[in-house]
């Protein structure tokens, strides 16, 4: 009793320390993120995200409409590099989000200075300010609308004023919107491919903040099948496996992960098997895991399997005999130990659930006739294949 109390008194401060450490890490991560996301280019991109997201919900046009990106102006005293970045960003967003019905078209002459002489005199203006001159010069883009984006820093707020005008004599404004950054709120850094609302993006971020640990405990349920033998009609029974392990990521991006796991398989009157395996996985679907889309990993692994029972008779170089098959003496069951090399693919959703497919080569069985190949690439032959469903905790 005294010993238990002593242990408890030691464990409680340790738990508190661990919590404080996690809090400190949270705080540092949030500060770092806010510092990066608070930069003007990210805030400006955030406003464009919000503008285009708003247009996906309530498009400015009923049908797909060609629009010239007439101008992007940045806060007074900031440079043209930011203009170029924002032009690219809005073009990317509009290309990826067709629901806006805004189709950007190229019109270099629209932003060029043009000189137009008429009955009322000579006018020097930019093309989109004087569409008649463009029409007369025959350099019109075919677009009848122009998009203007104007950013201005007003104290600690960044304001975006967007307007779409007709490219005719009236230059009428057909759509206008003013958006302001919420004071001191860092940009949500949304994915342009599939824009979400600020609230959804915030929720995703908080989920990521809460579930971003470097370690996971995967629990896998799977089945392994072996290739049919070439000289015998006695095939190996598929093995059903339950395994549990530990997976570590090398960074928060989870681009590289390594895992070890221990598995157990049992089938009545056939076999009892245990296995230890290690895997090294590389993210193939990007440089960092996605919060919204499944991630695809490729992996290689190595392991060792020990199996006992009549079901493992085929994992030998000799054909099983009738006596061995009907041998009911549990003290004299056949046993085998096999080394396994694995390659496979894993489709994982938000580091929680995954579907795994793999091929395995068992070097010890390459010469046996009892187990055939499921895939022969010449330089390597795979004798086993399997699928697994994994739940990560």
């Amino acid at each position: 009793m005294t010993r238990a109390l002593a242990l408890l008194s030691c464990a409680l401060p340790l738990a508190v320390l661990a919590d404080e450490k996690a809090d400190l890490r949270d705080r540092q991560l949030e500060l770092l993120r806010a510092e990066v996301a608070g930069e003007v280019q990210h805030q400006a991109a955030e406003l464009l995200d919000e503008l285009v997201y708003g247009w996906t919900q309530k498009p400015p046009f009923d049908v797909d409409t060609a629009v010239v990106l007439a101008g992007v102006s940045v806060p007074v005293s900031l440079g043209t590099g930011l203009e170029a970045y924002l032009e690219n960003h809005v073009a990317g967003l509009l290309t990826k989000n067709r629901a806006t019905h805004v189709q950007l078209v190229h019109c270099p002459a629209c932003s060029a200075w043009v000189v137009h002489s008429g009955a009322k005199g000579t006018v020097v203006s930019r093309g989109f300010d004087d569409p008649e001159s463009l029409t007369q010069a025959g350099v019109a883009s075919g677009s009848k609308h122009a998009l203007f984006l104007d950013f201005e820093a007003e104290g600690s707020s960044l304001v975006l004023r967007a307007r779409v005008t007709t490219l005719d004599k009236t230059l009428a404004i057909v759509a206008a919107r003013t958006l302001t950054t919420a004071t001191s709120a860092p940009a949500m850094l949304r994915d342009g491919e599939r824009l979400t609302s600020v609230a959804e993006a915030r929720k995703q971020y908080l989920e990521a903040l809460g579930g971003r640990g470097l370690f996971l405990v995967p629990v896998r349920f799977g089945v392994r099948s072996f290739g049919p033998g070439t000289q015998t009609s006695f095939n190996a029974t598929p093995f059903l496996w339950v395994s549990v392990g530990l997976e570590a990521a090398f960074s928060q991006a989870r681009a590289w992960t390594a895992s070890i796991n221990a598995g157990f398989s049992w089938l009545l009157q056939s076999h009892v098997a245990v296995m230890a395996q290690g895997r090294l996985a590389r993210l193939l679907s990007g440089s960092t895991t996605s919060l919204t889309w499944p991630d695809l990993y490729g992996f290689v692994g190595a392991g060792v399997m020990f199996a006992q029972g009549r079901g493992v008779l085929v994992f030998r170089n000799t054909n099983p005999t009738i006596d061995e098959i009907f041998n009911l003496n549990t003290n004299n069951e056949p046993r085998t130990t096999l080394g396994i090399l694995t390659i496979g693919l894993e489709l994982r959703v938000k580091n929680r659930i995954s579907l795994i497919g793999f091929l395995e080569t068992l070097p010890a069985l390459e010469t046996t006739d009892n187990i055939g190949n499921v895939l022969d690439l010449g330089f390597i032959r795979f004798q086993s294949f399997g699928v697994e469903v994994s739940f990560c905790f």
Partner: protein, 208 residues
């Protein structure tokens, strides 16, 4: 360019108060506002700890959230900075006044008269966008007087130049009877407050 928000919890002392270490000049460059602690904890997880459960229902602690301005005070001219920092507010007030004076259904034209062309453009764009967002018919076209008219107007005092220019635009068909022209300007080169005037059917009226 822009630092992360700075926090000061007034009572709990859980968050370090970075303002203590700031100079006066640095403090002047901050925009600050107060938030209830519960809201601040939700908006800034990891930086502001959630309040104790008993405080959620009862009196709560304020958190002072401060952000640096995007541009340092000396990055723009003082007058430009003063105008641009309050651009939305000033333009909203002026367009609201103008909207009340203009005839319904009119087509709006807007221009700004300010010594710096980029700032003038910002003012005009802000006004056009604000009017269009209110559902008014707004044109991006700027009414242009002939060069001779402009040279005469440039020699006049602002109080005379704008009404004269308005009458001249209507007389030369630059503006029609359906058009309304809103001009935003500073009258004195030293002031940082925008003025507005409305030109309707050749008649000029300063906005209150």
């Amino acid at each position: 360019m822009r630092a992360a928000p700075l926090f000061m919890a007034t009572l709990c002392g859980c968050v370090i108060d970075p303002l203590v270490f700031k100079s006066k000049a640095e403090r002047r460059n901050l925009d600050c506002y107060r938030l209830p602690e519960a809201e601040a904890a939700a908006r800034f997880p990891g930086q502001v700890p959630p309040p104790p459960a008993k405080e959620i229902a009862g009196p709560t602690t304020d958190v002072l959230v401060c952000s640096k301005r995007y541009l340092e005070p000396d990055e723009r001219k003082a007058r430009d900075e003063a105008i641009l920092s309050s651009l939305s507010q000033q333009v909203n007030e002026l367009t609201e006044s103008a909207g009340a004076l203009a005839p319904p259904g009119a087509r709006w034209h807007v221009d700004a008269f300010y010594p710096s062309a980029p700032v003038a453009q910002k003012i005009a764009v802000a006004a056009r966008t604000t009017l269009a967002e209110r559902g008014l018919v707004v044109s991006d076209r700027v009414p242009l007087l002939a060069a001779g008219d402009v040279s005469v107007l440039a020699a006049m005092l602002p109080t005379e130049a704008y009404p004269t220019g308005c009458a001249r635009a209507f007389a030369t068909d630059v503006l029609s009877g359906d058009d309304v022209f809103l001009a935003l300007m500073i009258v004195d080169p030293k002031e940082t407050l925008l003025h507005g005037g409305l030109c309707v059917r050749g008649g000029w009226r300063w906005l209150p």
